[in-house]
């Protein structure tokens, strides 16, 4: 008897551990997210406090466009010197993102989001400490920071090719390597190339005699704020004057918003884990309640109230919730610390602040973990309270309840979910779209999960008949159909992850198919020069390539595009300058709706009809365009082109290019003459691009594949995210099977007594698992395809006209689901095989 009690306790422990696992994972990601962002946030805080430690006040030009400041003439320094309270000479400097060193592999050295500064060498002061060599003295000399020297393996004396904002590749001689105080190679992962001042001004600002900013020191006893105010008054409104502290705070808050992205991703992990976990917990408690029916009925017949029954189940949930959340919190702190360390290593040189546990992590983990567990246990608890006292006396207490109610509520819930989804996708919900879609997906999942028990029996029977050729297979099939609710919830948990993955896959493959279709039917450009953007500045190439490629034999026309973000009548807009508008119009078939698409004269522009309509512009109208540099231009609209699936937006004349943030082309489209050799021309263009390592030339379909491959990497990431959901679903299958094996101990004993071999017992359990997981996978594939197709249909207006189902992937998922079933069955089937025949028969 004692043995039986202990055994049931042990088996109970396993089931509690399994269902608690989902909560642990959820709580882990919640707390991990908070710990990570807190740690990184504090690390950046100290980074910026350090970076601006020696800056009391900084003067920059006014903001021309979002994030783009005007230059400061050298003469301003003299004006500042005259302001009372300024200590010594102000230090003007050039410090601009966009100096890209080309490494030994011929590729531009990248950072992970940190800026690639081009600076003027101002001697070994402030926080710059030479480690080797000296500062640049001649126009062809540079110094780099130690971080860059290490990543790119550069040594003093090397000839180093550098791409700058205003110049294509040019080679400089490396004469010095410097570090930062405290032996650090960089402040926070940024790379720095220091030129002599005139060179820095020319290649980074496009003009000598100007600076990006001027740093000012306050005299002793003058507060920074006071000095800031005095300088601001002295200089007037065309300059921005900020204290070092203000700058540090601004940088911090922009990093914070970047970090909140991390936070959202991790919270997304948590949400998926917990959503799927809810199914698992719900199932566990349902099974526990079913197994304790007689005991609970006995309690009821001895006089305990319904409330007490609910209470006894909920207390168990509370305990699981508390323990699992605490474990999750602990693991989350670890995960946060590990991720922070990884991040620090990634960024390279970010000095990590110590790990601390913010209150938000503790509260978040506990609230979410306990809340979800209690919520999931509520329904089984209420069901437990409805057990009539007579159930204690009946042999078979839980007859199959009819599925009508659950099916009706499932149908209603699904309808609501699909409605929300439709509203989100096809309605004009504006900013609420994302939330509507998320809510729609969530509610649909719950609805489908409620509908699953109804389809479980026939579908499971069908899947199971694949395995019915052997007795264990047949028994496994029968077992998997025995409790449609249990099978359904277990399968539904697997459905969620697979549906999301399949949905994303459908969208990606449809987008790819649509793009290829568009490309093949509408675009006549044969070759495309472009690069993958990995930093704030777009990858660019030498403008000379445009002219040279036009001269290549076999090339019919070339159109190069320069990109900038400007302001049209005060509103931010993408602006392109096109080297040859007629060529572009020919390649993308653009047709003039108004005016002409002939070659643009100075200060002329064309735009698409939608944009023209929004702005109320016509051929002949004039607008004011402010580009990243210089003064606003008055530009005349000479043509409006008809709506095109591939191309839209502003295109301006090439005389405006010098005011672009990067006055070098980012893209080019090349059309060949009929019957010319594509491969040969492509190779020639590639040779022309030898000095422009940030871009490459591809044919049309290669270009589309390249664009899609960016989507593919998003997809990979999502797959990793959702693998977690699937992992939890696997735990669910293990849990369900382990409980089923336990419940059927006597049957298993009987089967073994009449001659079922161990391997056959294992096969029986495995078939049950495989049937459940394939059922879940089928549901997921169907629901996911539905979701994906709905999204693609909603994107129809955007030119995504083709729906393509990723059959290969789907088959792979189905096969994987089978493997998942086999893996999930390992533990329970070993348990089933180990059952002691005699004990099983004597089992009470």
């Amino acid at each position: 008897m004692l043995r039986a009690t202990l055994k049931s306790l042990l088996s109970r422990k396993l089931r509690l551990v399994l269902s608690g696992m989902a909560v642990v994972l959820g709580a882990m990601f919640v707390s991990g997210a908070f710990v990570l962002t807190d740690t990184i946030g504090r690390s950046f805080d100290s980074l910026f406090s350090n970076a601006y430690a020696n800056v009391d006040v900084q003067v920059t030009g006014h903001e021309v466009t979002e994030g783009q400041q005007a230059t400061v003439p050298a003469s301003v320094a003299d004006q500042i010197t005259a302001v009372p309270g300024v200590a010594g000479q102000p230090t003007p400097q050039v410090l601009v993102d966009g100096a890209r060193v080309i490494g030994h592999d011929g590729k531009a050295v990248t950072t992970f989001g940190a800026p690639r500064y081009g600076r003027d060498w101002a001697g070994e002061k402030d926080q710059v400490q030479l480690r080797e060599g000296h500062g640049p003295q001649a126009d062809n000399e540079i110094a780099v920071n130690a971080g860059l020297a290490k990543t790119a393996n550069l040594h003093v004396g090397d000839q180093v090719p550098v791409l700058t904002v205003f110049e294509p590749k040019k080679t400089y001689k490396l004469v010095g390597i410097f570090g930062r105080p405290g032996g650090r190679d960089s402040l926070g992962g940024e790379t720095e190339v220091d030129f002599t001042t005139p060179v820095a001004q020319r290649v980074m600002l496009g003009q000598t005699g100007v600076y990006s900013d001027i740093n000012v020191k306050a005299a002793a006893g003058v507060p920074d704020d006071a000095l800031r105010a005095r300088i601001a008054t002295a200089l007037g409104s065309s300059y921005q004057v900020k204290t070092g502290k203000q700058l540090a705070d601004e940088n911090k808050s922009s990093i914070q918003s970047g970090l909140s992205f991390f936070n959202d991703i991790l919270l997304g992990f948590a949400a998926v884990a917990l959503f799927v976990g809810t199914f698992l917990i719900l199932n566990t408690f349902s099974i526990i309640v079913a197994q304790r029916t007689r005991e609970l009925a006995m309690m009821r017949s001895l006089g305990s109230s319904r409330r007490q029954v609910i209470g006894s189940v909920m207390i168990e949930a509370l305990l699981i919730g508390v323990v699992a959340s605490l474990v999750g919190l602990g693991l989350g702190i670890g995960v946060g610390a590990v991720l922070a360390a990884l991040f620090g290593g990634f960024v390279g040189g970010l000095q990590l602040a110590g790990i601390a546990v913010p209150l938000s992590a503790v509260i978040g983990a506990l609230a979410v973990g306990i809340g979800i567990t209690m919520l999931a246990a509520l329904m089984p608890a209420i069901r437990a309270s409805r057990i009539p006292p007579v159930a204690a006396l009946q042999e078979v207490a839980t007859a199959d309840r009819p599925l009508t109610r659950v099916t009706v509520s499932g149908a209603v819930t699904t309808a609501i979910g699909v409605g929300l989804l439709g509203w989100g996708l096809f309605g004009r919900a504006g900013s609420g779209t994302l939330w509507l879609v998320l809510a729609g997906v969530l509610v649909s999942f719950i609805g489908v999960a409620l509908l699953t028990p109804l389809v479980a029996r026939p579908v499971v029977a069908l899947i199971g008949s694949l395995f019915a050729w052997s007795v264990p297979g047949k028994l496994g099939r029968i077992n998997s159909g025995r409790n449609p609710r249990r099978t359904a919830i277990t399968a539904a948990a697997l459905m969620v992850g697979l549906a999301l993955i399949t949905g994303f896959n459908v969208v990606v493959s449809s987008v790819s198919a649509s793009l290829h279709h568009l490309g093949d039917t509408q675009v006549k450009a044969d070759l495309i020069i472009s690069g993958q953007q990995s930093a704030e500045l777009p990858p660019t190439f030498d403008p000379a390539v445009l002219e040279k490629s036009k001269q290549l034999p076999g090339v019919r026309e070339v159109a190069g595009g320069y990109l900038d973000i400007g302001k049209v009548n005060g509103k931010a807009e993408g602006i392109a300058a096109v080297s040859d508008l007629p060529a572009l119009a020919d390649m993308f078939p653009l047709t003039a709706k108004e005016g002409t698409l002939a070659a643009l004269g100075d200060n002329q522009a064309v735009l698409d009809e939608d944009e023209a309509k929004t702005l109320g512009l016509h051929a002949g109208s004039t607008v004011t365009i402010q580009l990243s540099r210089g003064q606003p231009h008055t530009v005349k609209v000479v043509g409006i082109y008809a709506k095109n699936d591939v191309f839209n937006g502003w295109m301006v004349a090439t005389n405006l290019i010098p005011d672009f943030r990067v006055p070098q082309p980012a893209q080019a489209f090349i059309r060949l003459q009929n019957q010319s050799d594509l491969a040969a021309v492509k190779a020639s263009v590639a040779r022309l691009l030898a000095d422009s390592p940030e871009v490459n030339v591809t044919d049309r379909s290669g270009f589309i594949d390249q664009q899609v491959s960016q989507l593919n990497s998003v997809l990979t990431f999502i797959q990793i995210l959702l693998a977690l959901a699937i992992l939890i679903a696997i735990l669910g299958i293990v849990n369900t099977l382990a409980l089923s094996v336990l419940e059927r101990t006597r049957e298993l004993g009987l089967l073994r007594a009449i001659g079922l071999r161990r391997a056959q017992a294992m096969r029986m359990v495995t078939v049950e698992a495989v049937v459940i997981s394939i059922f879940g996978a089928l549901l997921g594939l169907i629901v996911g395809s539905g979701l994906g197709v709905a999204v693609v249909r909603a994107l129809r207006d955007q030119g995504f006209t083709n729906v393509a189902l990723p059959w290969n992937q789907m088959v792979v998922y189905l096969v994987l689901a089978g493997v998942v079933g086999v893996v999930a069955a390992i533990l329970p089937s070993v348990r089933a095989a180990r059952i002691n025949v005699l004990e099983a028969i004597a089992y009470e």
Partner: protein, 254 residues
């Protein structure tokens, strides 16, 4: 050994000097103390004795469900001691039939499927005439498609008996097969087991507490405290009751 070969052809199962000890130390229980027993082909044996005397243990050991501590057990020519789990499983499947007191059937399968289960597991086809004979003898033809939950306790036991016989095992072991039944249904089962011995030459061993039930058998073995204390051939209810009283006096004296 050659001397025994002649007899083994007549012996369906044999236990020699079988000891069975459960647990160790304080909790040590000796359930069987040197039991030797031969079950002859076509013989119907009843095993009786007070509760805890080792009847079920003896059945389990002889049927290959449990290992003996000392001694040897044979089913037909096969020595059970030292067989692997796979070997024992195959033996149970092919050469042994078992009827328990209750929970004999898989609730998910119909009566017919339950009956054919050992053959199905072995991947063997039933011998059609024999199958028909068994079904008709137990009188279940109109109930074959029913699930156990749709059958009465007596009918369920009859299905269990049919299952135990359908593979023509060397021996059928029945541990209190009528323990949960009223006397009418019990008599059906007993009559059926009797017929399978008389008409079809099966070998049956049955544990029972009921003197009337035991009187269906050809011989009765009396166990007391793990030993065979008496044996009786051609038993009558009265003779059995007398013997039981004597044993109770001698064993219950402790």
């Amino acid at each position: 050994m050659t001397a025994t070969t002649a007899t083994t052809t007549r012996v369906a199962a044999r236990a020699s000097e079988v000891w069975k000890v459960y647990g160790s130390g304080e909790a040590r229980v000796t359930a069987l103390r040197g039991v030797s027993l031969e079950l002859l082909r076509g013989q119907y044996t009843a095993v009786m004795g007070p509760s805890g005397s080792g009847k079920s243990t003896l059945m389990h050991c002889m049927a290959g469900l449990d290992a003996v501590t000392r001694g040897d057990v044979y089913i037909g020519q096969t020595r059970l001691t030292g067989l692997s789990d796979a070997g024992l499983t195959r033996l149970r499947r092919d050469q042994v039939g078992f009827v328990f007191q209750q929970f004999n059937l898989l609730p998910t399968l119909s009566a017919k499927e339950n009956i054919l289960l050992p053959l199905a597991i072995a991947g063997r086809k039933p011998d059609k005439p024999w199958y028909d004979t068994v079904i008709d003898t137990v009188g279940l033809r109109d109930r074959l498609s029913h699930r156990p939950s749709e059958l009465s306790g007596g009918q369920q036991q009859r299905v269990a008996c049919a299952r135990a016989l359908v593979s023509r095992p060397e021996v059928v072991f029945a541990d209190e097969p009528t323990g949960n039944l009223d006397s009418r249904s019990g008599a059906d089962i007993l009559g059926f087991l009797r017929r399978s011995v008389t008409d079809f030459g099966q070998t049956v061993v049955m544990v029972t507490h009921d003197a009337n039930a035991a009187s269906y058998a050809d011989r009765v073995i009396f166990l007391g405290d793990g030993r065979i204390v008496h044996e009786m051939a051609g038993p009558t209810p009265d003779a059995i009751l007398d013997t039981l009283k004597k044993i109770d006096l001698s064993v219950g004296g402790e």
